[in-house]
């Protein structure tokens, strides 16, 4: 499956009480287009979606915070996963969409395919984690979402997705507008 198909199939799991943080570039454009609005659509701050998710999860412990990040963003912000592994807010869930490329900037390879994500996540002290290849096993995706989003602990799901360098249109909202609309819904 392509990243945008994976994001689109998340839709039925997203309620008004789900707060989504999406990483810069294609991922936030896909979240904007295929999931209920408004959410936190990052325009920049590459590497920081997990940290922003941690702050949001600490401020809103009654709500579910879902970070959707590309592999490039995840790897850039890797050290923030140690902080998350340490503080473990139970309402924080992270999905890594691993296309093994920087799709947004033209599809240059990342070094993601070197990583053993299960070992990595275990090493961070993440309590609940899994990895799924959506290209080989697309039928398992919905079950994996279910497990992730009903988990009572900090949980992370790594998903291998197809390479896809097609870019959607830019998000029309100005950053300040994104902030205001998002904060109004809380």
């Amino acid at each position: 499956m392509r990243g945008e198909e994976v994001i689109a199939s998340l839709k039925e799991f997203i309620s008004d009480d789900t707060l989504i943080v999406s990483s810069n570039g294609n991922v936030s454009r896909q979240a904007y287009n295929f999931l209920p609005q408004p959410q936190v659509y990052l325009r920049g701050s590459m590497g920081l979606p997990m940290s922003i998710g941690l702050g949001l999860a600490l401020a809103q412990p009654e709500k579910q915070v879902l970070v959707i990040t590309g592999d490039g963003n995840f790897l850039m912000g890797l050290s923030s996963m140690t902080t998350i592994g340490n503080y473990k807010p139970p309402n924080l869930k992270i999905i890594i969409l691993d296309n093994a490329i920087y799709a947004t900037t033209g599809g240059q390879e990342t070094v993601s395919s070197t990583v053993d994500y299960l070992k990595l996540l275990e090493g961070f002290g993440i309590q609940h984690y899994g990895s799924l290849n959506s290209i080989k096993s697309p039928s398992k995706l919905l079950e994996a979402f279910e497990i992730l989003l009903t988990s009572k602990q900090t949980a992370v799901l790594h998903i291998n997705v197809e390479e896809d360098i097609e870019n959607l249109e830019n998000i029309p909202w100005q950053p300040k507008e994104i902030k205001n609309k998002f904060m109004e819904k809380i």
Partner: protein, 164 residues
């Protein structure tokens, strides 16, 4: 000299419930006091840009977090400031230790950043105050007023021995 507990009480009265950052020895006492605080939690970040991310996420969740870092950390947070905090107009209060001045003569690693610290803040358009002496509450009042009015990032510079 300003007592750590007085600063934390001031910040707690001003609705800060979280703090995060990376330590500097200038903040040793403040961090000990934070560790004991029942009102303000401290998150030990691994990097200063991560700390900016945490504080911005906390603000988007409608709560206030302040930051603690060495001026060396100012060199790490450029993108987090310009493409997150400032871009989305998220108010942030950052305490920055002012290393590289006279007392740091034997710390060459701080000297170059010390020389450009205020120029860096000015270049980012971040209003900054050197907090020392008796009127520290007035300085913080002014910084918070500016932060809230403009929804902007503001910075408090802290020299050696100022916070005890």
């Amino acid at each position: 000299m300003i007592k750590s507990i007085d600063i934390l009480n001031y910040l707690s009265e001003n609705n800060f419930e979280l703090s995060t950052g990376v330590p500097c020895s200038y903040f040793k006492e403040l961090l000990i006091e934070l560790d004991k605080s029942a009102d303000i939690q401290y998150i030990a970040s691994t990097r200063e840009d991560e700390a900016v991310g945490i504080a911005c996420g906390y603000f988007l969740g409608k709560k206030n977090c302040f930051l603690i870092m060495q001026n060396s950390g100012l060199a790490t947070i450029g993108d987090a400031l310009t493409s997150l905090a400032q871009l989305y107009e998220i108010p942030l209060l950052i305490f920055v230790s002012y290393r590289g001045l006279e007392p740091d003569k034997t710390f060459p690693e701080h000297v170059i950043m010390g020389n450009v610290t205020e120029a860096v803040l000015d270049a980012y358009g971040i209003p900054n105050w050197n907090m020392k002496g008796e009127n520290w509450r007035k300085i913080l009042d002014k910084a918070l007023e500016r932060m809230n009015e403009d929804s902007s990032v503001v910075c408090i510079l802290v020299e050696k021995g100022v916070i005890i």
